[in-house]
Symmetry: C2
Subunit: 325 residues, 2 copies
């Protein structure tokens, strides 16, 4: 992995990805006690940064492989990102999802042109089913994070942060990044190392699912004990990746975590003050800036708001609880 | 009014206003039956395009006048836009609001550093109170739309639309603009005439408050019969302005209108598909694109999403009704 791979991905993404804005609000600055800048990746195509990695991987495939098609395992943002990238390339796309995935996610992925194959989470072996499908049809697997082309795609977010921070006059700051497997945070870390060395990545996870934070402390890959139980479903990953962890260990500061309550309150603050829609997992970095300011350094902080594909009922409930609505 | 005034305003706004993105979603394209591009001004400073006009006017004042301070009559987006512009210039700012304005709007305007003066809507004469205050303290009145510097500021939205449409390969399209007094739509119309003559402004208003639409049809300024009764409070204005109407009569296509129900449904579509927060009045142009596609021409349509300062309870209610939440 190097900066040239990220810049090459940026070249392939030009005109396809949204250059998402860096937003701010005097109200958030006041809560946080410092200037807060929010990189709004919820405004990205398909509602999350995952489109960057999906496009980066699909667009780099040799034409004969691309024509055969791609496959991804995901019930969430990675599925939609890969599906749209494949459709725009005219490439067949299979998404393997558990049969109990939310109906709206299945429907949305199909509406983006993908063939959704469902498996039984209790009895089916996802990897075996996927491998058999890939073999039978000649599909290329697009992994969600532990894949250099995907990390390079997510890293284009970091190139934009470097430019936008310079425009805003921010030379040194912590850059808080919601973290599942570490594709986004490691990609951004590589980009910032090359383009804005005063900016330092810090990963943010839900409490109880802080495998990256604990792995960084231990200096080795540790796993979460549980696989579910946080509302931040988009960033619940068992363990950091084999490729992403060494990058984070080298470049990132200490890991951070927040409670589900703090993530929901940040989601509502983003609604009221920035007028963006975040999913809980996409709001954890903002939650640190607003509610745990003592864990961050500097006069300004940059947070990535990584995705906005939230269930309307969950959003409605959060508005009721945290906006007095 | 000319394009040079708009370009001068853009120069003064550089580094202050957000260059808001032009967003899209394949899901919206499918509903509309054509490509839909959304200029997300809800992401602007203070949550609406009004910051552009406020900044344009305050920044153009001679230093001695600016130091005396400014005054505006508004309980809504214009108040916040002027207040933040004044604060950043170090200029005193008085906002005259009816005493029955929503508490949150009064609090937000005060939090942006303005002195809020309340008057009784039933017994007080707003213009007389404002004139007396302005006279006593040497304040400059910043009108909400019928003021060349304000129109020039709002017109900077049109400069960005012209650039972004060219980048997206859109040479000809209707540009749908939520319309109250016509400051935003007339400013955009002037900018597009100079920079993207294939793009044509169409005003969008709430049904029953379509003074601009009827005025354009009649060729003279007509007034609304009612002053309240739509949820689209941000764009309920009695009549088009003396400055804005002739510009619209010369440059805009036929006016459009939508129901409150359509505005709410568009607000929810923007939540689900674009991950932006709109107020009902900010969603009326998107509502035309989605729900009245036969009234628009061309293979693509550009809509301005003009503001996002929505009451959380109203938003919550709309999610319940239109997202099945």
């Amino acid at each position: 992995m190097n900066i040239e791979m990220i810049e090459a991905a940026a070249g392939r993404l030009a005109g396809e990805a949204v250059r998402t804005p860096l937003l701010s609000s005097p109200f958030l600055d006041e809560v946080a006690g410092r200037r807060v800048f929010v990189k709004a990746e919820c405004l990205q195509q398909t509602g999350s940064f995952k489109f960057r990695g999906g496009w980066s991987a699909v667009s780099a495939l040799p034409l004969d492989e691309r024509t055969q098609g791609v496959i991804a395992f995901s019930s969430g943002n990675h599925a939609q990102g890969v599906a749209l990238a494949a459709r725009r390339h005219g490439a067949p796309c299979v998404i393997l999802m558990p049969a109990d995935a939310p109906r709206v996610k299945i429907d949305n992925t199909r509406a983006l042109g993908a063939e959704v194959v469902l498996y039984d989470r209790a009895t089916g072996d996802r990897d075996a089913i996927g491998a058999a499908l890939a073999e039978a049809r000649g599909l290329t697997l697009i992994k969600p994070f532990d894949e250099p082309l995907v990390i390079a795609g997510q890293g284009t977010t970091g190139l934009e942060i470097a430019e936008q921070a310079a425009e805003a006059g921010i030379g040194a700051a912590d850059v808080l990044v919601p973290c599942g497997g570490g594709g986004l945070s490691s990609g951004i870390a590589l980009a910032l190392q090359a383009k804005a060395p005063g900016l330092r990545v810090r990963t943010v996870e839900p409490e109880g699912f802080d495998d990256v934070k604990r792995s960084l402390e231990a200096g080795e890959i540790l796993r979460n004990e549980r696989g579910s139980g946080s509302i931040c479903d988009a960033i619940l990953t068992p363990a950091p990746g084999q490729l992403t962890f060494p990058i984070l260990a080298r470049l990132a500061g200490p890991g951070l975590s927040v409670s589900d309550e703090e993530a929901l309150a940040a989601m509502v603050a983003a609604f009221s003050r920035l007028h963006i829609v975040l999913e809980p997992g996409g709001a954890v970095a903002l939650a640190v800036a607003l509610f745990r300011p003592d864990t961050v350094e500097g006069e300004a902080v940059i947070v990535v708001a990584s995705g906005g594909n939230v269930d309307p009922a969950a959003f409605r409930s959060a508005l009721g609880r945290f906006a007095g609505a």
